[in-house]
Structures are given as structure tokens and as C-alpha cells.
């Protein structure tokens, strides 16, 4: 019985994290769309890495 309780609790924690992660990603997508609408360019570290990858020395 204790084992079952623990399992349920663990599952609840995982479910909670899954929901937080989904919420976060949905919000980030929404922000990205808004920035695009406003025409704001935001250089990120990913862009910079990509740019560096193109330079051949």
C-alpha cells in the first residue's frame, strides 16, 4: 500500500513537471510570435553559434 502511495506521489510530481514544461514552451512560442509581429530582432547565442559555424578559417 505504501509502495502504491509513493508511486502515485511520484507520478503526480512528474505530471506537474510535464505541465510546467508545456506551459513554458507555449509561452515562449507566443513571445516569439509577438516579437516577430513587432519586428524586433533578438540575436541569441544560438544565432551566434550558427554564424560562427559558417566561417571557414
Amino acid at each position: 500500500q505504501d509502495f502504491n502511495k509513493k508511486n502515485l506521489a511520484n507520478r503526480a510530481v512528474v505530471e506537474h513537471r510535464r505541465r510546467l514544461l508545456q506551459e513554458w514552451r507555449a509561452w515562449r512560442e507566443q513571445v516569439a510570435e509577438e516579437l516577430e509581429e513587432e519586428g524586433v530582432e533578438v540575436p541569441t547565442y544560438e544565432d551566434k553559434d550558427a554564424a560562427q559555424g559558417e566561417t571557414i578559417e
Binding site: 512528474v14 513537471r17 510535464r18 510546467l20 514544461l21 513554458w24 514552451r25 509561452w27 513571445v31 509577438e34 516579437l35 513587432e38 524586433v40 530582432e41 533578438v42 541569441t44 547565442y45 551566434k48
Partner: protein, 337 residues
């Protein structure tokens, strides 16, 4: 994580900043000197001399051409990063508690201290990103903080807003062009000072640190609190890591505020939390006093902490740091493949 001790300052550190490409670290201290260090090995690259009071703040523009600093000598100074030459001095009636460049480096803001006869203000200067250029004498914008004094401030994405953090635990959103007050929110406990405000890499959200022992993740456009990180000590600084979804908090009780030795133990640590799950992941010890500032390499490879003990501790992240994932993160990653 292998720590590198950057020793060179003789008094408490107040702020630490990375250049945008993560190569150079700038540190300021109450010892009136600005130091520059190589982030790769901690070697000291140079110093900038001239301030006549404790330094409170430093920032470098995104092209690593100009360095700005603010101090208790009531000046903001602009320096040539490469040569260490002083290029410009702006004088004020009170100390400068925070300087920060706009995302494109063409503007610089300064937060001035309140004192009898002086309200706290946020001043903005237009900047020419050229060491040969003549810089403007007059500010292009001046915001007076009448309600509660500003302690920190910065520019949002696209230099659209100036966001300031205040002594009373509130944040204010200003139109960065007109200086109009747009919005205000009491995000920390009443009258618990906001001690730091640092941006996400795209500047659409930021993190605040407070004396109320919490840090908050806040959206720049509507000042909504997205996340709360609960610590067990007053916080002086908080940073958002790129690459990984973490935040790093730094703080600790000043010796004079602590009555027993036992209460001091284990408090001088950098604390890592998961940014999205709000859970503490780990701590890094090492400092002998409160952490006054934590800074993260914009490229995500390392972080540095500046302590009341006079040291900067530089930590390069190891493989385990980058590999670590929560089960649900791994799931999501696999679903994306």
C-alpha cells in the same frame, strides 16, 4: 566544476560582467579599481584607474568597445576597453548604483542614488560606439523615481522598455523613448529591496533578487511573475543561464547582521535552481562571505561570482552540467527529434 580564483581586488566585489562573446570578465569593487580578466584561464588582462570612490557597477557594450562604470564618487565613466583610456566622465549629485547598455549598445542608462535634496533618477545617454567619437554631454532622457528609489534598471528587448527595480520591492516599466510610466507591480515582499535585475538572453524576461530571500522570474511586457525561487538567505544577485534552463542565486547574511556563528555556515553558496520547475538542483560553495553578484557567460560555458570576501570565483561548467536533464525534459527532447 573547476573553480578559478581571480585575486587582485583588495575589497568587496560589487558587480561582475562578461563580454558578449564570453571571453572577458570585468569586475568592480569597493577598492575603486576595475579589473579585466580572461574568462578562459582567469589571467588578469588589465585594470582601469580613475574613480575616486567605491565602484558599484560596470557594463560593457555588445561589441566590447566601450566600458561603462558607476561609483560612489558621483560619476559615470566611459572607458576604451582595449587601452584602458578614460573617454568620458559624467558628474552627478549622488552615487551611481547601476549602469547598463541597451541591447545594441547605442544607449547607456545610469541609476542615481537618492539623498537629501536629490530624488533617485534613471538617466539615459546616447552613445557612439567608437573610441574616437565625442560623446554627448547631456542626457537624452531623465526619469525621476518619486515613489520609491530605484536600485537597479535595464533595457528590455528592442530597447522598448526600461525596467527598474526599487527599494520597496516593486518593479516599474517605463517607455524607453519617452520616459512615461507604463506599469508597476509589487513583485517582492513590501519594503524588501530588489538587489539585482538580470535579463534572459533575448531580454523578453528577467530575474530579480531580493532581501526577502526569493528571486522572481518576470515577463518584461506585462510584469507578470512567471516563477518564484525560494532561498533561505537574503539574496544579492540572480542570473539566468543560457543553453540550460537554470537560474543561479547568490546572497548571504552580512557578518554584522548575524548573531551566531552557526547561522553563517553554509550560507555563502551559489544556488542553482531549475528555471521552469523552480526546484533547487545544487549549490557551489567557496566564498568566505556573502555573494554580492553572480554573472553567467552569455555563451553558457561558465559563471563567475563576486564576493564580499574580495574574490571573484570563476567556474567552468563540466559535462555533467550540460548532460543533466529531468525525465520530462528528456521525453520532450525525444518527442522533438
Amino acid at each position: 566544476m573547476r573553480p578559478i580564483l581571480l585575486s587582485g581586488h583588495t575589497r568587496a566585489l560589487t558587480q561582475v560582467k562578461y563580454s558578449k562573446d564570453g571571453d572577458i570578465i570585468f569586475s568592480v569593487s569597493k577598492d575603486q579599481i576595475i579589473c579585466a580578466w580572461y574568462a578562459a584561464n582567469g589571467e588578469r588582462l588589465g585594470t582601469y584607474h580613475g574613480h575616486q570612490g567605491a565602484l558599484w557597477t560596470v557594463d560593457v557594450d555588445p561589441t566590447t568597445t566601450l566600458l561603462a562604470s558607476g561609483a560612489a564618487d558621483n560619476t559615470i565613466r566611459l572607458w576604451d576597453v582595449k587601452t584602458g583610456k578614460l573617454l568620458k566622465t559624467w558628474d552627478f549629485g549622488t552615487a551611481i548604483k547601476r549602469v547598463e547598455f541597451s541591447p545594441d549598445g547605442t544607449q547607456l542608462l545610469g541609476v542615481t542614488e537618492r539623498r537629501q535634496g536629490h530624488l533617485s533618477t534613471i538617466v539615459v545617454y546616447d552613445i557612439v560606439l567608437d573610441v574616437e567619437a565625442e560623446q554627448a554631454d547631456e542626457h537624452s532622457l531623465r526619469i525621476v523615481c518619486e515613489d520609491s528609489k530605484a536600485t537597479v534598471a535595464g533595457f528590455s528587448y528592442g530597447s522598448k522598455y526600461i525596467i527598474s527595480g526599487h527599494e520597496d520591492g516593486s518593479v516599474t516599466q517605463w517607455d524607453a523613448k519617452t520616459g512615461e510610466l507604463l506599469d508597476s507591480a509589487q513583485i517582492q515582499e513590501d519594503d524588501m529591496q530588489i538587489t539585482d535585475l538580470q535579463w534572459s538572453s533575448d531580454r523578453t524576461y528577467f530575474i530579480t533578487a531580493s532581501k526577502d530571500k526569493t528571486a522572481k522570474l518576470v515577463a518584461a511586457n506585462d510584469l507578470r511573475v512567471l516563477k518564484t525561487y525560494v532561498a533561505d538567505t537574503p539574496l544579492n544577485s540572480a542570473a539566468i543561464t543560457p543553453v540550460k534552463d537554470y537560474v543561479i542565486l547568490g546572497g548571504g547574511q552580512a557578518a554584522m547582521d548575524v548573531t551566531t556563528t552557526s547561522a553563517r555556515q553554509g550560507k555563502f553558496e551559489a544556488r542553482f535552481y531549475h528555471k521552469i520547475f523552480e526546484e533547487e538542483i545544487g549549490r557551489v560553495r567557496g566564498h568566505f562571505g556573502p555573494l554580492n553578484y553572480v554573472a553567467v557567460d552569455p555563451q553558457g560555458k561558465s559563471y563567475a561570482s563576486g564576493g564580499e570576501d574580495g574574490y571573484v570565483r570563476l567556474h567552468h561548467f563540466d559535462r555533467g552540467y550540460f548532460d543533466f536533464l529531468y525525465e520530462v525534459e528528456r521525453e520532450a527532447e525525444q518527442a522533438n527529434l
